[in-house]
């Protein structure tokens, strides 16, 4: 009697699992049990066929429902931006890199190009100022250590030139030019003119003219001329 009851209960259990078997979401053990029952029970097999039909049509019905419009995503992102939790999270997880990246991505390419040029020039200017400070420092040391030596015998002031760059010149081209001629921007801009240091010491006039002439032939240079001594 108990055996019959158990068999009925087991069959009902298998019957209840048919939809999940058809959908492939049963565990391997359960799936094997269902497979064995299906192989030996014709009525169950018929039922399983109806389950498979139902599954196919349910998928077809849901797929026919279409998709939400694209504006849902836009609206969601706008809502997220406006959400209080977003501001809180942004504050608590501030990343300089992400902030910088966000800021840069909001600029136009032209603004970025100008910013990059300005930044490069600022770096070069800073390098020039540091070099100048270093030289002045050395001059200072020399004057202390050689107090008995006449001033004319100490290091002479550097040789400077006035220069303006072509409007089309990129920051990379300007940097390359400065490196090629071993120049450093020490002052400016005044209008579009910069003062560049050609040498930390005075150089002969002939050599200076030669350098100026070479610079005049550079396409990145719009104007270059010797700066009169102050």
């Amino acid at each position: 009697m108990n055996t019959i009851k158990n068999k009925v209960s087991e069959r009902e259990e298998i019957e209840a699992l048919l939809p999940w078997h058809a959908a492939g979401t049963l565990s391997r053990r359960e799936a094997q049990k269902v497979e064995q029952a299906l192989a030996s029970d014709a009525e169950l097999a018929t039922q399983y066929e109806t389950v498979r039909q139902d599954l196919a049509e349910t998928i077809g019905l849901n797929e026919s429902l279409g998709a939400p419009s694209a504006r849902v995503m836009q609206r969601l992102m706008a809502d997220i931006e406006a959400d209080a939790s977003t501001a809180r999270r942004t504050r608590s997880s501030f990343s300089l890199g992400e902030w910088l990246s966000d800021k840069l991505s909001s600029f136009s390419p032209r603004t970025l190009a100008w910013s990059a040029t300005a930044a490069a020039l600022a770096i070069v200017l800073q390098a020039g100022l540091l070099a100048g400070m270093f030289v002045n420092d050395r001059q200072g040391n020399l004057s202390y250590t050689t107090a008995s030596v006449p001033l004319e015998q100490t290091v002479k002031p550097g040789t400077d030139a006035l220069i303006s760059f072509a409007p089309t010149a990129t920051a990379g081209e300007i940097t390359k030019l400065l490196q090629t001629y071993k120049m450093a921007i020490v002052e400016g801009p005044s209008g579009d003119m910069y003062t560049v240091r050609l040498a930390v010491t005075g150089i002969p006039k002939e050599e200076l003219s030669k350098v100026i002439k070479q610079l005049q032939n550079e396409k990145t240079v719009r104007f270059v001329g010797q700066k009169s001594a102050d």
Partner: protein, 186 residues
């Protein structure tokens, strides 16, 4: 190509990553939309609701404990939102039991019977099931949820899930019979 798991995306969303949110949305929004649409029956309302669902995900991602699949969690939130929205409708102020027992009063079976295509009749009958039966059939067949996952989404014991599914199938068979389609079961 290796794709980021849903769980990893949720972790990134909890950290405030909006791009991860977009990826998760792109991955799941259609299915969540269809699930909600089948419950509320109104496309524009379903769109509003999925917006609410994903906004909730954004707000509560740090509370996700990975005890279930992310898709199961999404459907559970969606179900809650859809039922809450239905409750707010003045013309549908029904308790769960009553609402679940009522079948879609759409087309009558006779109309469906006129259509020779069994497949079409079957789809018609699927839309005529009660909300409770529609929901479980969708979750099992379309959303491929296991007994345990359905139990989590619907909030009932696993045995109830099995019994409810059995009765949903039985009811579908009866509707088909009434529409002139005899399948040998029930």
């Amino acid at each position: 190509m290796q794709t980021t798991s849903d769980e990893a995306l949720i972790g990134r969303i909890a950290g405030g990553d909006k791009l991860a949110m977009q990826v998760l949305f792109a991955r799941h929004h259609v299915r969540v939309y269809r699930f909600v649409l089948r419950l509320v029956g109104d496309a524009s309302r379903a769109e509003d609701l999925i917006n609410d669902v994903f906004l909730d995900v954004w707000r509560t991602a740090d509370k996700f404990e990975a005890r279930s699949q992310v898709s199961t969690w999404l459907l559970a939130i969606a179900r809650y939102k859809a039922l809450s929205a239905l409750r707010k409708r003045p013309d549908e102020e029904l308790d769960d039991e009553t609402a679940g027992a009522i079948e879609d009063p759409g087309d009558d079976p006779e109309k469906a019977m006129q259509k020779k295509d069994t497949s079409e009749i079957l789809r018609q009958c699927l839309t005529k099931l009660s909300a409770e039966h529609r929901e479980i059939i969708d979750l099992v067949y379309y959303h491929e949820k296991s007994v345990e996952e359905v139990a989590r989404i619907v909030g009932v014991p696993e045995n109830t899930v099995k019994t409810r599914m059995f009765y949903a199938r039985k009811r579908l068979g009866e509707l088909l019979k009434a529409a002139g389609v005899e399948r040998g079961w029930p």
